[in-house]
Amino acid sequence: MIGWEFPPFASGGLGVHCLELTSRLCAMGVEVDFFMPKSGEGVNSSHPNLHIIEVAKADISPYIFVSKSRRHTTYGENLMHAVEQYNKECAAVLVQRAKERGYSLIHAHDWLGVKAAGEAAGKTRLPIVHTFHSTEFDRTSVPWDFLVDIERQGVQNADLLIAVSRRTKAQLMRLGANEGKIRVVYNGVDAQKFNNGNGGNAALERFRQGRKTVLFFGRLTEQKGPMQFLHAAKKVLQVMPGTLFIVAGKGDMLPLLINTAIELGIKDNVMFLGYLSEEDQKRIYSAADLYVMPSTSEPFGITALEAMSAGTPVIISRTSGVGETVKGALLVDFWDINGMAQKMLSVLKYPVLGSSLSNAGKEDAMKMSWEKTAQSTIEVYNEAVARGKQ
């Protein structure tokens, strides 16, 4: 499996997916060699079937720097070079190991692994399963042709494609994928992990002072909609002035968002938390009265499931993959600030709604397990191998 990141050195759904998927696959008897760039920190395998192969050094988080304004500096030079280097070395090591390990197939993720998978498959004749967690069309409103081309290449090279939602499936078809080779496999959640509710956090409580709390948690980029969150917050505060809004996550929009909070006159009600450790994530989900995911385009949205498994009511964008499959959530259009604010206020004002959403959300989270994701992935593997033999 050609990956990029692995928690805790991860910036998004791709890393969580790889960690959770590989551990379930290995438990189900699949042997996985997981390729990733050298993190410098050393990543340990969680299972004897999982071998972590670190090649090339790259300490750049790919999605943090995807932004129109900066792409020609950071994104363009450093990251592209690192990806190039990683793919090259990855392909070489993979081809070499293929002889001794007897691989059945190559499983790659997103545009980051397209070249390595293509090159290695060319030499080993192994089938490729390629999962897309997002496409360039999701990440920005002005897609970069260079990346779109790589994604097109990945879509062409793959024997079977895994899309993390029907929404992503449609994006892959936009990239020229044949519908017949796309399989939709939803992400999951470890329902136990976030459902521990272990007592919140004293420091946070002091700041919160009993205020109703609304949480945004995601990369601070255009795609995730933090700006809409602040504008909706302003509307909510007109009706419920005591509400606290937490913006958790990092990204290049942070300075802009801080300025916006000041300009909107809501800075005393908005708290920017930056990067959260997994422990802090657990705390923040259960501390919040409401989780809002206002993404403009969200291929899946694992954090919504995490919040649901913690029993926190969620409002999610209609343009999200997770919104296709869960029932215990309120849906909003990301551009409809009034609608978003009205739903936020409803959850905060009417406790019956919060508790009903919480119960239904927990039920949804129970159904969306990583075991199920792994099981479906194995089915796609089997199909790809069978196709390869024909």
């Binding site: 509307k235 009706v239 029932k327 215990g328 959530a329 309120l330 849906l331 009034n338 609608g339 604010a341 009205q342 739903k343 206020l345 409803s346 009417y350 019956v352 709604l353 508790s355 009903s356 959403l357 239904a360 039920e363």
Partner: protein, 396 residues
């Protein structure tokens, strides 16, 4: 075997997407109800179902002198007809003129008023409905409560209002080993007879008519007439939504051909006779007594009130509706009263149903909302607005 066909005719008065951020200069009715959408849906269903089915019924009544059918038109439906499609009411009045069509009584607002602790509102709504139906040329001695909700107490209320019969669902846990194909008396009532829906034969048309998985598919009129003729008992009550014709089952399923052929096929069986509910309760006696201490209905698998009051969101909203009765009636404001009553329409609560979220196809099919939570947000904000309006007028 007396065959009683009864059709429920109803269209909910759908709500606007209420915005708490908009200014409130409009009247409450304009603020809450989506007239554009309501007109659009009524016109659509009129075209697909009501008008062609009424025309066909009229033709059949003229052709088959023994044929009789009955309806209940909710007040909410009749009011929308007056606003958007008066010609539709005329077509029902034309059916009444034949003298072989009966319009049953019910609560004007298709409400759950029978479940309010005080029964005044229920009685008022039934009387309001009676008045409207009489204008159409109808007269009846049979009552049918919203969604066939029924209990000993509801039967008693109907009896006290002078009704001789009441319709409900023929469910096993009420009947035990007994058949729905007879009339029954009701515990702690005197004289009022319960007519029980034969849900199997009703659903054969209402639900299964176009179901290709069904072993009896396709259902033909001669087969159905044979089934009716071979039944044991005094009567068979076939009750369903009128929208069965052309709306739940589209024209291309053959539902209209089925209806067209049915009276003729039934005529081939001398033991079959069409009756209206009033004729039936006057001509047949009760063979036993039913005892229904808890409210039953014709909805969902549970056949109880859980489709409307099954979860906390629904019970909270229903509680607010009840709480507003006294203050609204004290204000003596016709517009506020009518808006409050329109909000009692059972559909608004039905959309909030979360029963097995994984399997609520029927609820989803009828709901204009994303989810029950979405429906709650809209309904609850409207109720909150009405509450605020009542408070403001109390102060004024």
């Amino acid at each position: 075997m007396k065959a009683c066909f009864y059709f429920q005719v109803h269209q909910p008065l759908r709500l606007k997407r209420f915005s708490i951020f908009e200014s409130h200069e409009q009247s409450v009715r304009e603020r809450y109800f989506d007239n554009g959408l309501n007109r659009q849906i009524l016109e659509k269903v009129a075209k697909k179902c009501y008008l062609p089915t009424n025309a066909l019924m009229l033709e059949l009544l003229e052709k088959h002198p023994g044929m009789r059918v009955s309806y209940s038109l909710t007040g909410v439906f009749m009011e929308q007809c007056k606003m958007f499609a008066p010609y539709l009411l005329d077509s029902f009045a034309a059916l009444a003129k034949t003298g072989r069509v009966e319009f049953l009584s019910e609560t004007y607002y298709h409400s759950l008023a029978a479940l309010f602790p005080s029964k005044d509102e229920f009685v008022e709504q039934v009387k309001l409905h009676q008045r409207e139906v009489e204008k159409l040329g109808g007269k009846t001695s049979v009552f049918r409560n919203t969604e066939a909700m029924f209990s000993n107490e509801i039967a008693y209320l109907a009896q006290r209002m002078g009704y001789e019969g009441i319709l409900t669902e023929g469910i096993e846990h009420v009947l035990g080993w007994r058949s729905p194909n007879y009339l029954y008396s009701v515990k702690s009532c005197e004289g009022i007879k319960a007519m029980l829906r034969n849900y199997k034969l009703s659903d054969d048309i209402g639900y299964r008519f176009s179901a290709k998985w069904w072993s009896e598919y396709p259902l033909t009129a001669d087969k159905y007439a044979k089934w009716l003729s071979s039944l044991e008992g005094d009567c068979v009550n076939v009750f369903m939504d009128y929208e069965t014709f052309g709306e739940h089952h589209w024209e291309d399923t053959g539902i209209f051909e089925f209806l067209r052929a049915l009276p003729g096929e039934m005529g081939k069986h001398p033991n079959l006779e069409f009756v209206t509910p009033s004729m039936l309760v006057k001509s047949a006696g009760a063979v036993g007594e039913i005892d229904v201490p808890h409210v039953i209905s014709w909805a969902d698998m549970e056949r109880d009130t859980s489709a409307w009051l099954g979860n906390e969101m629904q019970r909270e909203c229903f509680g607010i509706l009840q709480e507003l009765e006294a203050p609204i009636k004290e204000l003596k404001d016709g517009e506020l009263l009518s808006a409050w009553r329109m909000l009692q329409n059972s559909d608004h609560l039905y959309y909030l149903c979360t029963k097995s979220l994984s399997d609520q196809d029927v609820h989803n099919y009828f709901s204009p909302y994303d989810s029950p939570f979405d429906a709650y947000v809209n309904f609850r904000n409207i109720l909150e607005d009405l509450r605020g309006e009542v408070k403001a007028r109390q102060k004024a």
